[in-house]
């Protein structure tokens, strides 16, 4: 069998709760040492998939391999995984040390070995002074670290994270995000990370799997997902502020809507020949060219400023293109006034073109 090349392999996985299908014949191969993020809005099946990998949910059909071994029928503790939960799920009546060693004691590991592993994990996560405390006496960030530690002492190849930062405030979340990335750099083991936060996904992932309705909509590096979304859903989901969409026609190599005409010069089509059809074009607000650079832009047009949202580092400007509202991101220092007319430039090479019906990238 050719399964040894992957750390985690999911084959044809189905999961249904009664008549509700949560996962539909899902396939996913995850490489050794890869940081894979499962990203999607709530109810897309990402946590369900993670629970299946952990063995906490029984799939209706399909197989799961970890390190080449079929673990579909194995208990969670026998799968060689460690898991970090959203609520951390620390045992409240045990000390931090008790929490870290619970799994090892269950496995009847020799005391010396337990000591060694706890010491190592505590050192890596810098929680040595906290070992004798109860979880109730820890801050959110410290609890998160202990939860990671519980996975760490198990000395496993695969770490599963179920929205581990969702319970923290924004600043701490940013700090711990970096810590998790650092942990991955240090340990180099496979990590599967579930989140609904696209910033977390983009910053942490080697590859992102964007899920919707139990299917993977796109699996790719953050760069691919951001620049070449395979379908309109992914294009819309990734990026903040989100992409502008204009419905129009693809005619003779150009996007046409009303009096707006965008020749798709430099755009990498998926197929060699793209017939004329109804399409949707997607243009990211940050890819619209303004200021002095407009002179070099392949396509230029006039737009009237309707609304300005300053966000500090940059400013979001609402204009109207072909009669539709259109967002543009400009530098925060740009001085703009309402109802001012702006010359904007668009580079078709950075746009995304989708077939209107199927919403698939052209």
């Amino acid at each position: 069998m050719n399964t040894n090349n992957f750390s985690v392999q999911i084959k044809d996985l189905d999961l249904a709760f009664g008549p509700v299908k949560v996962l539909r014949s899902l396939d996913l191969d995850i490489n050794h040492g890869e940081f894979l993020v499962l990203l999607g809005s709530s109810g897309c099946g990402k946590s369900t998939l993670l629970n299946c990998i952990a063995g906490l949910l029984e799939p209706t059909d399909g197989q799961i391999f970890i390190n080449g071994e079929n673990v579909t029928w194995k208990e969670p503790s026998e799968r060689g995984i460690g898991m970090v939960f959203q609520s951390y799920a620390l045992y409240p009546q045990m000390t931090v040390e008790g929490n870290l060693t619970f799994g090892l004691r269950n496995a009847r590991m020799p005391k010396a070995e337990i000591q060694k592993r706890v010491a190592r994990a505590a050192e890596i996560l810098q929680i040595e002074p906290l070992l004798q405390r109860k979880p109730g006496a820890l801050s959110g960030g410290q609890r998160q670290r202990v939860a990671s530690g519980r996975a760490l002492v198990r000395d496993v190849d695969v770490f599963l994270f179920d929205e581990p930062l969702s319970n923290l405030d924004a600043k701490l979340r940013a700090d711990l995000r970096v810590e998790i990335k650092r942990l991955h750099e240090q340990l180099q083991n496979t990590m599967i990370y579930v989140t609904h936060d696209q910033i977390e996904a983009m910053t942490l992932a080697d590859r992102i799997a964007i899920m919707k309705g139990g299917n993977i909509m796109q699996l790719g590096t953050p760069h691919e997902i951001y620049n070449k979304p395979l379908n309109k859903y992914v294009a819309d989901f990734i990026g903040s502020p989100s992409m502008n969409f204009l419905d129009g026609e693809f005619k003779g190599g150009a996007f046409v809507k009303g009096d707006v005409r965008l020749p798709m010069k430099g755009y990498e089509f998926q197929a060699a020949q793209t017939p004329d059809q109804a399409v949707t074009i997607g243009i990211r607000p940050e890819h619209v060219i303004t200021g002095e650079l407009v002179a070099n832009a392949p396509v230029k047009m006039e737009a009237k400023v309707e609304l300005i949202e300053p966000m500090g580092s940059d400013t979001l400007v609402w204009v109207r293109v072909a009669g539709e509202p259109f967002r543009i991101r400009v530098d925060g220092q740009t001085q703009l006034r309402n109802r001012e007319t702006l010359t904007i430039g668009i580079d078709p090479a950075r746009a995304s073109l989708f077939a209107r019906e199927s919403e698939v990238r052209l």
């Binding site: 969670p76 959203q86 045992y91 409240p92 045990m94 619970f102």
Partner: protein, 304 residues
């Protein structure tokens, strides 16, 4: 303070203690409290009077001649049937019924509730539904069938169940099961599910999760179950009178026999003392566990 601070609202709003609503509220509460406390007062004073004084009829007056005699008689020498060793016999019978019943019913119900809440095995819903139906069937319907079952089971295993303490303990355990299981199931369901999942990832099995993860977090619900069972079983009369024999009657049955004895004069002071003695255990439980209960809730409130 200048006048300005009195008339310009600032800081906490002043509250008048003797406002009309307060007087009305506390007045009503005082009257109602007195109304409920009065019978207790009468019982206590009567139990400390001599029979002569009781016959004199001033039930609200304090005893002129305080005496502890009725209490001693109620405890040690009052007669029920052929036994003349007072309520002490019934007290110890009740204790011997109570302790195993409480321990057994809570142990089984807690495991039941845990299994129903966390291990959703096949048929769990059905089992739970059956248990709940059991909670709504009137006791009276089951009295005689249980007599037959206890006899049959006893005969099968070759020992006496009907008419013994053991049989009564089993009956109490069974009848406590629906409500206690519901109680524990709901409590365990309210504990974070991820804790259970984490324990499974940590390789803990059914019993280890129960004893090492769930139990340490469950003091409050155990205290609640204990209060429920202790008062329920101690106050039980029906099962006690049906499933036991005079020698091993629980305290409530014996109290009834003392108070309702038709021979001789009615010794009201002894009856009052006996009643108070019988009610003492649930009272102590309420007072003692109230504190424990609060502490238990506080301990369980630490979130993981």
């Amino acid at each position: 303070m200048s006048d300005a601070t009195q008339f310009t609202p600032r800081g906490p709003r002043p509250r008048r203690i003797f406002s009309a609503p307060n007087i009305f509220l506390y007045g009503t509460l005082t009257v109602v409290a007195a109304y409920y406390a009065l019978p207790l007062y009468v019982m206590i004073t009567t139990s400390l009077k001599t029979m002569d004084e009781v016959r004199a009829g001033n039930i609200f007056s304090l005893p002129t001649q305080w005496t502890i005699e009725p209490w001693i008689k109620a405890w040690a020498t009052a007669c029920t049937g052929i036994n003349c060793d007072g309520l002490s016999r019934g007290f110890w019978n009740s204790v011997r019924i109570l302790i195993p019943s409480v321990i057994l019913s809570i142990s089984i119900a807690s495991v039941n509730g845990y299994a129903l809440a966390n291990w959703r095995y096949k048929g769990a819903e059905f089992f739970f539904a059956v248990l709940m139906i059991g909670a709504f069937i009137p006791y009276q319907v089951m009295l005689y069938p249980i007599v037959l079952v206890l006899r049959a089971v006893g005969d099968f295993f070759g020992f006496q169940l009907y008419g013994t303490l053991g049989g009564l303990v089993i009956v109490h355990t069974i009848f406590g099961m629906p409500i206690l299981t519901l109680l524990f199931r709901n409590y365990f369901s309210s504990l974070p599910e991820e804790l259970f999942k984490a324990a499974r990832v940590d390789g803990a099995g059914f019993w280890r999760i129960f004893f090492q993860v769930m139990l340490p977090m469950s003091l409050p619900i155990f205290v609640v179950a204990m209060i429920l069972q202790v008062t329920g079983i101690w106050n039980d009369f029906l099962f006690g009178v049906i499933y036991t024999k005079p020698d091993i009657y629980p305290m409530t049955v014996q109290l009834n026999n003392i108070v309702n004895s038709v021979q001789g004069t009615k010794e009201y002071n002894v009856n009052m003392a006996a009643t108070l003695l019988t009610g003492l255990v649930p009272l102590v439980i309420y007072f003692a566990s109230g504190k424990l209960f609060v502490r238990g809730v506080a301990a369980g409130a630490v979130k993981g």
